[in-house]
């Protein structure tokens, strides 16, 4: 028996918008990533291999699940097109499916199953076709069934589409309330309805009201009240005299003092109302805030190398700039407009002067060939606001490139990686080049790419 789990980006696009810090397939339901519920179900149904198909990025998921050895199955990953039918999906994964029976779970749905029931015999003996369905997806079986007479009503399934914050909240609460009797849930506890992770610090005066699920590295400070129906993620601090009831607190969240969180989802500095879908960002970090990870020191060598190289370019082109700039400015060939561009940081924009040089005169042609239109941007490299080479800066009104969790998708630079390559023909193709180099380049290769970009611009302008 093999299982295919198929997802389309449009099905979980709402998660990207509501909880941007987590990959949608790793969205925690009662402190357990969504994908693990599906893997558990595939194992209950007797699958030895599971393949996850998606038309979006799977990098973060792959880093988390790896090859499935922790579940004792073979886990693999592949891409699909958004409009692929089940038949096409089976064709694209023919080698994986082989001659075995295949269960295809499609859609971003929560499967209501019961770990105590025998799904293995059921999955092998049910006739080919649909097993369960809901508006957002279905479970389908293909291949020849085994000839065993079973009462299928004994282990019926149902699906709940996770199409909004409200349905996510419902599914989480359902998992919490049915608890470890139906699902395999994380945490330890002496009594039903209470699950605690590792390294949970609970002050003496804390009151816990069942059911609750608490993650790892959590601090519950004096006089806090947790529950009933509270799901607290990992790396969370609940400060003194606060209460969390019928609510979900995501990982890496700080809940301030004297607060009452009731029927809400707290994620970082955002407080969401699952019923109305309303969401507010708290400006006061003493009330609610994200617990930030330490600054990533790995980016430091790149910033230093870029700054040193930028300093060199500033020195080399200082004299041409100081001569040509006033001439072009006075002649009306140098036009500068200021605009806000997207910054590398998601919460900030970057005001930059964009220069347009009218290349009708010889001086202007030299200025363009020497990339003097980017000269002033080099100073932004010294302050770390721009990279020397990276993505083409995008105007702030444009949408930020899709965030592939675990991978950098946008780092504005004076020169772009696409300028260093010869092949991009369209804007979309340029993005492919930029993403490749954002993931694979190192500070030294960046310098050689800057030289290539500079030469390409020089040749391009010379050709004009």
């Amino acid at each position: 028996m093999k299982t295919i789990l198929a997802f389309r980006e449009e099905e979980y696009a709402w998660v990207h918008e509501t909880f941007p810090c987590v990959h949608p397939l790793l969205l925690p339901l009662c402190n357990k990533p969504f994908i693990e519920f599906l893997i558990d179900f595939a194992i209950l149904a007797g699958s030895s291999g599971v393949r996850i198909l998606c038309d979006g990025g799977l990098d973060a998921l792959e880093q988390y699940c790896e090859d499935g050895s922790r579940w004792g199955i073979d886990l693999s990953y592949a891409s699909i097109h958004p409009d692929d039918s089940i038949h096409t999906m089976l064709g694209k994964n023919r080698k994986f499916c082989g001659e075995e029976r295949v269960m295809i779970v499609s859609g971003f749905n929560f499967i209501r199953y019961d770990k105590r029931l025998d799904y293995k015999n059921l999955a092998t003996s049910r006739p080919t076709g649909e097993w369960a369905a809901c508006p957002g997806g279905r479970i389908t079986l293909t291949g020849v069934p085994a000839k065993t007479a079973l009462d299928w009503t004994l282990a019926e399934l149902s699906l709940m589409p996770l199409d909004s914050m409200a349905s996510f909240y419902r599914a989480s609460m359902e998992a919490l309330e049915t608890g470890a009797t139906r699902y395999v849930l994380p945490g330890y506890g002496d009594e039903p309805g209470c699950a605690f992770g590792r390294n949970v610090v609970i002050s003496k005066s804390v009151e816990i009201r069942k059911p609750v699920s608490i993650g790892n590295n959590v601090q519950l400070l004096a006089n806090t009240i947790i529950g009933p129906s509270a799901i607290i993620g990992s790396n969370v601090i609940i400060d003194r005299q606060s209460s969390v009831e019928s609510s979900i607190v995501f990982d890496n969240t700080y809940i301030g003092e004297h607060l009452k969180v009731d029927g809400r989802i707290a994620s970082g500095n955002r407080l969401n109302d699952p019923k109305s879908g309303a969401s507010i960002a708290m400006e006061d970090p003493h009330l609610l805030s994200g617990i930030k990870k330490k600054w990533d020191i790995r980016s430091l060598p790149r910033k230093i190398v870029h700054a040193v190289a930028a300093l060199g370019l500033i020195a080399v082109f200082f004299i041409p700039f100081i001569i040509l700039w006033p001439l072009l400015k006075l002649g009306g060939h140098w036009k500068s407009t200021r605009a806000d561009f997207l910054s590398e940081r998601t919460d900030a924009t970057l005001p930059l002067g964009k220069v347009e040089v009218d290349s009708s005169s010889a001086q202007a042609a030299i200025a363009i060939a020497l990339s003097l239109d980017r000269y002033l941007w080099l100073f932004r490299v010294l302050t770390g606001q721009l990279a020397l080479i990276g993505s083409s800066p995008l105007l702030a009104e444009k949408t930020r490139p899709d965030l592939l969790l675990g991978a950098l998708t946008y780092r504005p630079g004076v020169f772009s990686y696409a300028e260093a390559e010869d092949w991009p023909a369209t804007g979309g193709d340029a993005t492919i080049v930029e993403r490749f180099h954002l993931a694979h380049s190192n500070p030294l290769s960046d310098i050689s790419l800057v030289i290539k970009a500079f030469i390409n611009r020089l040749q391009e302008k010379s050709a004009i």
Partner: protein, 117 residues
């Protein structure tokens, strides 16, 4: 990099072996079947041990030259290393990707037939 070319039911199958980078990309780009806009090509990437942006560029440009942009080049047997490069660059959305070359050929033949009809 070496390219071995076979054909099945009118579909060209290019099996690439080695590194698809800036040095070897022109060889792929200039392949007769790749250049032909009418020809559907299945590219078997199982033996590709490294691909860079120029390699992806060669495959993307090849698909742009085809009459059927999403069906003119069909990819098969992508290993994990190559798949990750396609995913990180989001280039996987431009292609139909199969884990089996014969299945890819069947798909390409069906597409070619329906496009011709």
């Amino acid at each position: 990099m070496t390219i071995s070319e076979t054909s099945k039911i009118g579909i060209a199958i290019l099996s690439l072996n080695g590194t698809l980078d800036a040095l070897s990309a022109p060889e792929f780009r200039n392949n007769r079947s790749v250049i032909d806009p009418e020809k559907t090509v299945v590219v078997d990437l199982q033996q590709v041990d490294f691909i860079d942006s120029s390699g992806i560029g060669a495959i993307v440009s090849a698909s742009r030259q085809k009459r059927q942009p999403t069906g003119g080049i069909v990819l098969s047997c992508m290993n994990d290393r190559v798949r990750k490069v396609f995913e990180i660059t989001n280039a996987q959305k431009l292609f139909h990707i199969f884990d089996d070359t014969i299945a890819a050929v069947d798909f390409a033949a069906t597409r070619q037939k329906s496009a011709g009809a």
